[in-house]
């Protein structure tokens, strides 16, 4: 059973990582907590579901959901964060948390209205659900799909950030906002890019979760948002590799706790582990230097 639970944890951790990557990307660039990220994740699942219900195949629904969730993420940036950049840093941090909660509630309410508060599901047969035996483990096509998409997304993100001119600009803004601006980097373009990327990753995670766990509902992002906090604090706030490792560690920890401990203890174990890590490494597993926030100078 241990090997099977490790596999379950790895798959779950892959989704946590995908979710946390988008979350940490925004924090890394903007130094803000996007509390609407769970709602964007949910919207991705809904868009993917409606695309499949409209008759389009899943391979097309996934990118459609990513683009849709990316655009919704930009909408969150425009209504919740952009107007706050004129505030001083201390004010902006708190205000951005509150305003992103508000933006998230708007998206949640739309999701609730559209779904009539019902739990929806992808049509039966969208992905084969039968399990196959591999080295004594039961593996479903969905689990393989989730792992595959998660790995692909991480590789694409890494390529974009480290191998393209746009990625270099993003990293330049994250490293030193003022210097990047003096060198001609357009900050608004960077903000839109990062929010789009973040939303697209959340949208992909939403579709995968909706498929794998057979459930698309308007509150589906809430538990993931809390877990994403743990993953990125564990990995190091703003660190892309940290979010990846944090997500995987979290998934494994959750699976093993649920497998061998009473159900009520799972969350306690996760947070005890988090506090132990923070006692040893207060900046998380992957220490990230903290560039200046752009919010205090625009």
């Amino acid at each position: 059973m241990i090997a099977q639970q490790l596999l379950n944890g790895l798959v779950l951790g892959g989704v946590y990582a995908l979710f946390a990557l988008g979350f940490t990307l925004i924090f890394g660039i903007h130094r803000i907590m996007n509390m609407a990220h769970g709602a964007v994740f949910m919207s991705g699942a809904f868009i993917g579901l409606f695309t499949v219900q409209a008759g389009l195949p899943l391979w097309l629904a996934l990118p459609v959901a990513m683009v849709g969730a990316g655009l919704i993420s930009i909408f969150v940036e425009v209504i919740a964060f952009k107007p706050l950049r004129k505030l001083a840093l201390a004010d902006a941090e708190l205000a951005s948390i509150i305003s992103s909660i508000g933006a998230g509630l708007i998206v949640l309410s739309i999701g609730q209205y559209v779904s009539k508060t019902q739990t929806l599901r992808f049509p039966f047969g969208t992905v084969p659900i039968e399990a196959i035996q591999v080295l004594g483990l039961r593996v479903t096509m969905l689990q393989l799909l989730m792992l595959g998409v998660a790995i692909l997304m991480v590789l694409l993100l890494a390529f974009y950030l480290y191998r393209t001119p746009q990625g270099r600009q993003i990293r330049a803004v994250a490293g030193n906002y003022r210097a990047a601006q003096l060198l001609g980097v357009n900050p608004n373009a960077i903000f839109y890019q990062t929010f789009f990327l973040s939303g697209a990753l959340a949208g992909a995670a939403g579709v995968l979760v909706g498929l794998a766990f057979n459930s698309v509902q308007f509150l589906m992002g809430e538990p993931f948002l809390l877990k994403a906090f743990v993953a990125i604090i564990l990995g190091g706030l703003g660190s892309v590799p940290g979010a990846l490792v944090g997500g995987l560690v979290l998934g494994l920890l959750q699976s093993m706790s649920a497998a061998y401990l009473p159900a009520l203890m799972v969350d306690a174990v996760i947070f005890i582990f988090l506090f132990l890590i923070l006692m040893v490494r207060p900046d998380g597993l992957f220490v990230q230097s903290m560039p200046e926030s752009p919010t205090k100078r625009v």
């Binding site: 059973m1 944890g9 508060t117 739990t119 659900i129 399990a131 057979n214 509150l219 649920a258 159900a263």
Partner: protein, 377 residues
């Protein structure tokens, strides 16, 4: 100013007529339907409130209160205890409100019962959490308590399904479901059943892969689900994906009685058995008439929650009638306490309170060909 004597007499007669007419005028009997229309319990609160409204409209159309009208105001508790408590406080302050029909879940209802008792307003909640009654005589539960239904489920598992080793999965964030599971385990263990695993999930969870693997490893011959329909559907699918043999019986309780069990669970939930308040389509003439009329009016099939809502409003209407012609909150509370054999569409068709504990019998349903049918009893 002086009026002629004749004019004064005329005015006095007119005033007398007006007074009598006013006294005989139909009165509004105001009920607040306080249900979870949003949030996690909305899938209960929305259909329940629709059933309640449908019942009130039907009763008014039939002049059930002899010309008086049931006037209802629908309010959203948002599945949140704070909002439910605030709503009870607000409506208790309105002297026109005779009683509150709600809130929906134990989480909202138990603390709200304290408020209702302080304000002395009858509150009939959807839940079956018996702890609500401890707050005082103004709080009522509506669904049958686990102390009645869980032994029935346990006996069904042992005597009809013939299972000997069960695993249980319950909601851990809803007191009512924790209570259901505990009573089931206590009853069945006394009768010699072995409980091989007891685990829990939260209402918003959707990933059950770890729990499913754990349950399968415990090799049960039955799994009993103390959750609502959508979660039960996903649990069943993921249990089967994790390798649960088809021979393992899956049982559950009233919470599973939702069309979403089948729409989400598909073929995986075939053969699943649960005890239920409501038989889809109705199992009595009154139930069948309700099912047809509800479908005709709303375009939807009545589910368990709509049927319960319809039944509870009927119980309330009978209490108001018993407390008439001048119903007060206190009279309605007393009438509710004495409720006996009120015709309803759930259970065996008669609703009674015995020491404020509801009793209306239950039946067992199973999923067959994507539909709920009466299970072998």
């Amino acid at each position: 100013m002086n009026f002629p004597r004749k004019t004064l007499k005329y005015l006095a007669v007119m005033a007398g007529i007006a007074l009598v007419a006013h006294g005989a005028q139909a009165a509004d009997r105001k009920i607040v339907i306080l249900q979870a229309l949003t949030g996690g319990a909305a899938f209960v609160g929305v259909p329940a409130s629709e059933g309640m409204k449908f019942a009130a409209d039907e009763l008014n159309a039939k002049n059930f209160l002899g010309g008086d009208k049931i006037v209802y105001e629908v309010s959203d508790s948002a599945s949140a205890r704070a909002q439910a408590m605030a709503a009870v406080t607000r409506y208790a302050a309105d002297p026109n409100v005779l009683m509150i029909l709600g809130p929906t879940t134990a989480v909202e209802a138990i603390p709200s019962a304290g408020v209702a008792n302080d304000a002395k307003i009858p509150m009939k909640a959807m839940t079956n959490a018996i702890a609500l009654l401890n707050a005082g005589p103004w709080g009522f539960i509506s669904a049958q308590t686990p102390s009645i239904t869980m032994p029935q489920l346990g006996d069904y598992a042992i005597d009809v399904a013939k299972v000997k080793a069960c695993a249980t999965i319950r909601f851990t964030d809803n007191e009512a479901y924790v209570d259901l599971e505990r009573l089931f385990v206590e009853h069945t263990e006394k009768r010699g059943m072995k409980i091989v695993d007891r685990t829990g999930i939260k209402q918003v969870d959707s990933d059950f892969s770890t729990i499913a693997t754990r349950i399968v490893a415990s090799k049960p011959d039955c799994v009993v689900l103390f959750t609502l329909g959508p979660s039960a559907a996903n649990l069943t699918i993921q249990l089967k994906q994790a390798g649960l043999p088809a021979s393992v019986r899956i049982l559950g309780q009233t919470g599973l009685s939702s069309p979403q069990l089948v729409s989400i669970g598909g073929a995986a939930v075939e053969g699943l058995v649960f005890n239920s308040d409501w038989t889809p389509g109705g199992n009595t003439p009154v139930g069948k008439a309700f099912a047809e009329a509800y479908k005709a009016k709303t375009g939807k099939d009545a589910d368990n929650w709509a049927a319960l809502g319809y039944s509870y409003m009927n119980v309330v209407a009978h209490a108001i009638k018993a407390a008439s012609p001048n119903p007060t909150r206190e009279k309605i509370r007393d009438a509710l306490t004495k409720t006996k054999d009120v015709p309803v569409v759930v259970g065996t068709g008669k609703y009674s309170y015995i020491d404020r504990i509801p009793n209306y019998g239950s039946i067992f349903l199973m999923v067959k060909d994507g539909k709920f049918v009466v299970a072998p009893q």
